[in-house]
Amino acid sequence: MSQRPDMAVKVGGVELANPVLAASGTFGYGREYSPYLEPGALGGLVTKGVSLRPREGNPPPRIVETACGMLNAIGLANVGLEEFLKNKLPWLAEQPGAVVVNLYGESIEEFAELAKALGAAKGVDALELNVSCPNVKEGGMAFGCHPGAVGQVTAAAVAEAGDTPVWVKLTPNVTDLAPMAEAAAQAGARAVSLINTLMGMAIDARTRRPVLANVVGGLSGPAIKPVGLRMVWQVARAMKARHPEVDVVGLGGIMSGIDAAEYLIAGAGAVQVGTASFTEPGAAGRIAGELAEFCAQQGVARAGELTGSLHT
């Protein structure tokens, strides 16, 4: 067999021991999954989205299973900035692996305030701006669907985040992602993460009611992998041409090391594992291992070689 591949990558301004992160909203604040993963198994994790004030989230039901996928309408429930800094971050900061804090504001000012507080906090390796959450009417959708808004939010966060790199998480519910990525890049984002969930809906035919209290929710899981791969490929090509300094972080339906490799080949510098963790709490660690095995089998010396290596 070939030598152990070098899995370390540098993506979006962050050194990662391997290209596999856990995705926002599917891994809590990390500690929930600590019984199930070896320390250091992951390149890092992205926290549940943090907002300025605590949020209760939507009434239940909040989740429903669909064909090879699930819908969620959590409503961005989270403990809020203060509690996060006090009780969640300290534990995270002590763990191996990068800590990327996903954050969410209802206005540009809120994004800026969050970026300032979190950028200054010890143990935060990068910020990921959620401009794409489809569940909350007053902001998410609007920001992520207009290049102008993406640019403004990004610029405001970058200005306040100090040295902490800013990533922007894009929504797939748009006609063309490239202008959003371009706006983020121009405003100083170090990486764009995609995709967030596709907006969907489930109906109970017998009661003639929506299954989710919120009516619509975000579709995730293996069902959406083809859409995620296509968007990563398109955005990565655009970034390579115009902003080679901006990385793409790919996600959507990754269930195996081969899935992760596909995203890297499509152009991602790193990947995130979301819904897979619900099918097996150690999934993200297993996937990181499978990716290393894939590299070894294929004679890939450095994981980074895979990035953007698609022959078309």
Binding site: G28, P60, G69, G221, T279
Partner: protein, 262 residues
């Protein structure tokens, strides 16, 4: 500490027309399991159905775990086809179990609510603690594996020394288990531990509240992760906001729950 493992199915047999008993080899989970806790069990190795299903721990036998389940949909429909020797992904034990410390507790099970409460009763017995227990079902037949036995069948619950009520009178008293409970409460009792369908739990919580008796209920909610991360399993809290069924529950003090918003 909880564990995730591939559990070998040691047995999977009907104990009623739609109720099955599965035995799984899961030493790391069995060693920690407490009554009222649950496991997440995937019914298929592939991506469909995608999510694991939550099941109460029905009992522990050495290094194996018992799961008593009712076939209600796609996942449980597949589960009942699982053959001995197959391996299923499972993690647990999860959540907050029953507090068994109270004086002379009263266990109240409705339908499949028997699953966790049987485990609770066994624990109390092992501790030598005094307690009372009652269950209600629709009909005796629900727990009679007609096809697994010859003759008129054994009821899975019959040899238990529990007060029983059944809606059709085929087992114990005719009527609902809440009628038995109301009588017990009138005579005074220890804390109530209840699991069963939501309408029953609502009634139990109200009765206990009226009688000033502490009450723990085991609640259900759709779950994705089972470990407190996804926030999918929200239960409306009396204090406002939500509690996670998988973390602050599934067993909760009935007084913490906002029964009006549930």
């Amino acid at each position: 500490m909880s564990a995730s493992l591939k559990a070998k199915v040691l047995g999977n047999r009907p104990v009623g027309p739609q109720v099955h008993l599965m035995t799984l080899a899961a030493p790391a989970i069995a060693a920690k399991a407490r009554p009222g806790q649950f496991v997440m069990l995937r019914v298929s190795p592939g991506p469909e159905p995608l999510l694991a299903r939550p099941f109460s721990i029905h009992g522990v036998e050495g290094e194996s775990l018992l799961v008593l389940y009712q076939v209600v949909g796609k996942g449980t429909g597949l589960l009942k086809e699982v053959a001995q020797g197959q391996e299923l992904t499972m993690w647990g034990p999860l959540g907050r179990g029953f507090e068994l410390g109270g004086d002379d507790p009263l266990l109240v099970a409705g339908g499949m609510g028997i699953a966790p409460l049987a485990f609770a009763a066994e624990s109390l017995e092992q501790k030598g603690a005094s307690f009372r227990a009652m269950f209600g079902i629709g009909s005796r037949e629900a727990f009679t594996a007609w096809d697994a036995v010859s003759g008129d069948g054994d009821c899975y619950l019959e040899h238990w020394d529990w007060a029983a009520a059944s809606e059709d009178g085929s087992l114990g008293r005719e009527g609902l288990v809440t009628a038995l409970l109301a009588e017990a409460l009138d005579r005074r009792t220890g804390p109530v531990l209840a699991c069963g369908p939501l309408p029953m739990l609502k009634a139990v919580a109200r009765l206990c509240d009226e009688h000033g008796v502490p009450c723990q209920v085991s609640l259900e909610a759709p779950m994705a992760c089972g470990v407190g991360a996804c926030l999918g399993c929200a239960i409306p809290a009396k204090a406002g906001g939500y509690l996670r069924a998988c973390q602050e529950g599934p067993v909760m003090d009935a007084a913490l729950v906002d029964w009006g918003r549930i």
